[in-house]
């Protein structure tokens, strides 16, 4: 447990710095230490609840998170997560390694093309999004002004979120980068609202996945407990340091870490029986 604790602190730290989240880093490392993949996924799912809820608490208070949008989108992610976790409970681990590597590759490629502008241009809100009261405002510290925004295309966002939930539940990760892309590209959220709302949804999505892993008996206490403690500590420290690091360094760190994880998961997938 001590080793897991130390690795989790490191994973939580790197996860917060690179924006990958603890799970995507933790799982490949645990697997390298011969922890069965499904156990690592299940324990990671629980761990994510801690890191997501911890940071969500402060974002919600700063009014950055759009709580109504989160409630609406959660309906879809939890369904996806339950299906995904159920698939993982039955599927051969070998396939999971490849899915994991493929998913990491999407975040690797995602970084090369940067997402939308900070605050999207004003557009007419569609009727369904308006009906859902999906608008909001927050005070932007950098721009030093109140930003008002309206969220669009809520109807299209739903199916996208099922896919995000599916990946999250199946692989034991937050799938934050994927959610953020949907928020920004389809729903046209400002980027700060997008990442904090995604973080808020991750907690409940992880619970939906964890509920399935609980029922399948894949949740091991000796693994999940030190992971939850370690990642929380690591994420706290990482979050503090992030603002003091140059952007370029963070980006390089991200690319190196993700590349190493992809190689590791592919290797495991190929060599697994």
């Amino acid at each position: 447990m001590f080793a897991v604790l130390v690795i989790s602190i490191l994973a939580g730290f790197l996860g917060a710095l690179t924006g990958l989240g603890g799970g995507s880093i933790m799982i490949p490392i645990l697997v390298a230490f011969e922890v069965p993949l499904k156990y690592a996924i299940a324990a990671s799912m629980v761990t994510i609840i801690a890191t997501s809820s911890g940071s969500a608490a402060s974002y919600v208070r700063e009014r950055l998170t759009n709580v109504k949008a989160a409630f609406y989108l959660e309906m879809f992610t939890i369904i996806g997560a339950i299906i995904g976790a159920t698939i993982t409970s039955f599927i051969q681990p070998r396939f999971l390694y490849f899915f994991f590597a493929a998913f990491l590759l999407t975040s690797f490629l995602g970084l090369s093309g940067h997402l939308s502008k900070e605050v999207p241009a004003r557009m007419k809100q569609d009727r369904f999004s308006k009906w859902l009261e999906l608008k909001g405002s927050y005070y932007d510290e950098a721009a030093k002004r109140e930003i008002n925004y309206k969220i669009k295309n809520a109807l299209l966002g739903g199916p996208g979120m099922i896919v995000a939930g599916l990946a999250a539940g199946m692989l034991g990760i937050g799938a934050g980068a994927f959610k953020v892309s949907i928020h920004e590209l389809i729903l046209k959220m400002p980027s700060k609202v997008s990442s904090t709302t995604s973080n808020f949804i991750i907690g409940i999505t992880a619970l939906a996945g964890a509920s399935v892993y609980f029922a399948s008996g894949l949740l091991f206490l000796g693994l999940a407990a030190p992971m939850a403690v370690g990642t929380t500590i690591g994420a706290l420290v990482g979050g503090r340091i992030l603002n003091h690091l140059p952007n370029r360094m963070v980006r390089y760190l991200f690319l190196v870490v993700v590349l190493a994880l992809i190689v590791q998961m592919l290797y495991k997938g190929i060599t697994s029986p």
Binding site: G54, S58, R61, F71, W131, F214, F220, V229
Partner: protein
């Protein structure tokens, strides 16, 4: 376009539920890990069925741990279980808080949405 006062109260309540849940559960897990070390002399992780979280369902598992907690007979492993249970309950409670809020605020749209999330989660946690 500012949010209503009620909505700000809900956000504050959610924020407290989340931070409190995480802090208490991490504290309990730390205590569990330390007491595990003192009773076993090592911190080895064993992947045997009795080290997994097990119960008829999540709620009965929680009820059993709570009962044992009140009797003061928790093993280090059960302390770890309690910490994880608390962690899992944290987001669940914030959904409950939202359902209550939208019910009181007479907002049928969001009452339906949050209730849907609550029902799906409850069903999934009841499953064995």
């Amino acid at each position: 376009m500012r949010k209503s006062q009620g909505e700000e109260k809900l956000e504050l309540a959610i924020s407290y539920v989340l931070i409190l849940g995480v802090l208490v559960s991490v504290a309990i897990e730390t205590f569990g890990i330390v007491s595990y070390y003192f009773s076993n002399g090592n911190l080895d992780i064993l992947f045997q069925p009795n080290f997994a979280m097990r119960g008829t369902n999540f709620f009965s598992y929680t009820a059993k741990l709570t009962q044992q907690l009140s009797e003061g007979v928790l093993t280090p492993m059960q302390w770890l279980g309690l910490g994880i249970v608390l962690l899992m309950i944290t987001p669940y409670l914030r959904v409950v808080a939202s359902v209550v809020y939208f019910g009181l605020a007479k907002n049928p749209k969001y009452l339906f949405i949050t209730l849907f999330v609550l029902i799906v989660l409850t069903a999934s946690l009841l499953k064995h």
